[in-house]
């Protein structure tokens, strides 16, 4: 996979969180909310987006190098921090593009306040419960063996191979910390906010929900149910893509996203 460049990093104090923010390119603001593993920001398509947008990547509290005060416990807390960030940074008419956990955060933001959000694109987000108490809506990535989880996440499991033994400690620390924070916020209730489903109707901006056809963690049925709760949302499936369709099928992903941005955004 082609790797993206890195942009300019800064830390912003949002409430008592030291929020790590990366910016790349220039143009209309596009707030990219990374997945829980921090993989997306490293993909080449982000540089393509940066050709026509200012891509702004705030790391959620506890992820990347952002701090994690003890009081931050839920996606609700994180969503409010991110909304405070939009206020503080003076971002207007933002495109908010969230991947996996980042997609959940984006949805939590949009149900609360869309004053600074122009449009929303969610890629294989978690965040709602669709079935009944006995149903496993979201595969249990902490319970299943590692190989099985990787096969669920990727259309081609080998796309998930990462050799951690060669990484510098500084980077491994981010990996270990991301994993810990992911569990901290998503353990129970497992990967969802029981309240979110009944709030999604409040999202009044144009919304695109993109799903990997081969996502085994949260299936396309789950994705369809998610999109159905958002008034007027478009639902697009990417063949050959798993839980991270943008990593496995970047061209197809950019086609779908590009069409949505062109249709919902004023010309830059």
């Amino acid at each position: 996979m082609a790797k993206a460049t890195t942009g300019n990093f800064e830390f912003l104090k949002v409430q008592d969180v030291d929020l790590e923010v990366e910016r790349r390119g220039a143009g209309a603001p596009l707030v990219l909310l990374d997945d829980e593993e921090g993989l997306t920001r490293e993909a080449a398509f982000v540089d393509d987006l940066a050709k026509s947008h200012e891509v702004i990547i705030p790391s959620a509290p506890g992820f990347g190098h952002s701090s994690r005060p003890d009081w931050i416990e839920t996606m609700d807390d994180i969503a409010y921090i991110m909304l405070d960030f939009l206020d503080q940074a003076g971002i207007e008419d933002a495109t908010v593009l969230g991947f996996s956990l980042g997609g959940w955060i984006a949805a939590e933001m949009a149900v609360k306040n869309v004053a600074r959000i122009g449009r929303l694109a969610l890629v294989d987000p978690y965040g709602i419960k669709v079935g009944g108490p006995w149903d496993r809506d979201i595969q249990d990535i902490w319970f299943l063996p590692k190989d099985e989880v990787q096969a669920l996440k990727y259309a081609d499991a080998s796309n998930g191979d990462i050799d951690y033994t060669e990484m510098p400690d500084e980077k491994l620390e981010v990996v270990a910390r991301n994993r810990e924070s992911f569990a901290r916020f998503c353990w129970r209730p497992y990967m969802h906010n029981p309240k979110l489903k009944r709030r999604l109707h409040r999202i009044t901006v144009p919304t695109l929900v993109i799903w990997g056809a081969d996502d085994g963690v949260v299936t396309t049925d789950y994705g369809k149910a998610f999109a159905d709760e958002i008034p007027g949302a478009r639902f697009e499936v990417i063949e050959g893509g798993g839980h991270f369709p943008h990593l496995e099928q970047p061209a197809a992903f950019m086609d779908v996203l590009g069409g949505f941005l062109a249709g919902s955004q004023k010309a830059a």
């Binding site: 003890d70 063996p145 590692k146 033994t165 990996v175 910390r177 569990a183 901290r184 353990w187």
Partner: protein, 394 residues
């Protein structure tokens, strides 16, 4: 030195180990035959009563969703021993506070056991081994803070005497706590906790004056933990040492051959398997340990102990096995190597060691070994300092 008899109450009648993924968490309970289970429960409880008769104290623990430990609710077995034993103390090590959703109930359960036993309870509290969070669904990044938050609430519940109090903390909200009964011992039973890697937590345990125990760890590791405890304790090292406990697997035989056969059977316990994804859930250990795990330098806390042979285990003190003289020498050697300790928690039963052999093992230990290691730490000195039975109404 005090000795405490222990078995995890295993259910060893399992399919071949290669036929399933993990002994713990997800081995289907269809494997459990209640008829065999009923016989095992009653047999293990009988063995505790025998150990008590022979002058040993009793230690109990609990685990969940695993055939390695049928004691899924240790307050229940502690209550039974409170009624059925008469002399020895009863150590619960421990109550998995982090994974239990109501510390006040634990306070009540322990107070009830303390009353029924007329003040013979030692109450231990643990955060639970990593795989426990899957059954309980506790957030692995919060086990330590839940343990301490819960422990504070329990002690407050045990010791408040003047009507309901309020407690609203990050993990528990109670508004009118005033438990009946209160513990028999004043102000409350001795408190124990365990540890294996977390240094700052050992400091905290030591500063609070709680007993600290380490299970089945090599002597070098135990030395580090015990020294750290002694350094952080607020009293003299000699007194602090008497609050330290260690658990080896112990096999005593009439002769070496008998002992080694017994040790080989007991080793069943450390050979049970846990699937990799249950061994280190995210946030259970610190970020720096997980950085080492990612580099392949840390594979859970017990990898070496699981894989190495009997010589290694005996050398490290994880297993103590032999004739009475040999076991005494091994206890003494371990005692010297770790700088002393006050409580030997002896796993004298595990796996397929049957009733007759277990009783033989208990008897040899109690009669031939225990009297000759008691002098190692003068725990009798603490009898006065120990919480004692109340003399009257508070």
């Amino acid at each position: 030195m005090d000795a405490w008899y222990f078995t995890e109450m295993p259910y060893p009648h399992l399919p071949p180990q290669e036929a399933y993924e993990s002994d713990r968490v997800n081995l289907s309970n269809a494997v459990f035959d209640p008829e065999i289970g009923a016989a095992l429960y009653n047999r293990y409880l009988d063995e505790y009563v025998i150990a008590d008769d022979l002058g040993l104290n009793s230690m109990l623990n609990e685990h969940h969703q695993t055939p390695t430990c049928l004691d899924a609710a240790v307050p229940l077995t502690a209550a039974i021993l409170a009624r059925e034993t008469t002399k020895g103390r009863i150590l619960v090590l421990g109550n998995p506070v982090a994974n239990r959703d109501d510390p006040v109930r634990i306070a009540e359960e322990m107070a009830m056991v303390d009353c029924i036993s007329r003040g013979r309870l030692d109450a231990g509290f643990v955060r639970g081994v990593p795989y426990e969070i899957f059954g309980s669904n506790t957030n692995p990044s919060q086990t330590m803070e839940r343990l301490w938050d819960g422990l504070d609430l329990i002690i407050k519940a045990w010791t408040t005497r003047d009507g309901p109090f309020n407690y609203e903390s990050p993990h528990w909200h109670k508004r009118a706590i005033n438990i009946w009964p209160i513990p028999y011992q004043e102000p409350h039973p001795p408190i124990w906790t365990t540890g294996s890697t977390d240094g700052p937590n050992v400091d905290r345990v030591a500063r609070r004056g709680f007993h600290f125990a380490s299970f089945l760890q090599p002597h070098e590791r135990v030395r580090v933990l015990f020294d750290r405890y002694r350094a952080a304790a607020t009293d003299e090292p000699e007194a602090a040492t008497r609050r330290l406990g260690f658990m080896p697997i112990v096999a005593v035989g009439e002769n070496e051959k008998e002992a080694m056969e017994r040790a080989a059977k007991l080793r069943w316990f450390i050979q049970s398997k846990t699937a990799p994804q249950f061994r280190n859930p995210p946030g259970y250990v610190s970020v720096d340990i997980n950085v080492r795990a990612l580099k392949g330098e840390f594979a859970g806390r017990t990898a070496a102990i699981r894989q190495e042979g009997m010589d290694y285990l005996i050398e490290k003190g994880v297993v103590m096995a032999g004739t009475p003289d040999q076991v005494i020498a091994q206890v003494e050697r371990f005692y010297q190597r770790v700088g002393g300790f006050g409580h030997l928690l002896v796993m004298l039963q595990a796996g397929f060691l049957d009733h007759e052999e277990t009783v033989r093992n208990i008897t040899l230990f109690a009669k031939e070994v225990y009297p000759r290691i008691r002098h190692l730490a003068d725990t009798a000195k603490d009898d006065g300092a120990r919480p004692t039975a109340r003399t009257g109404q508070a």
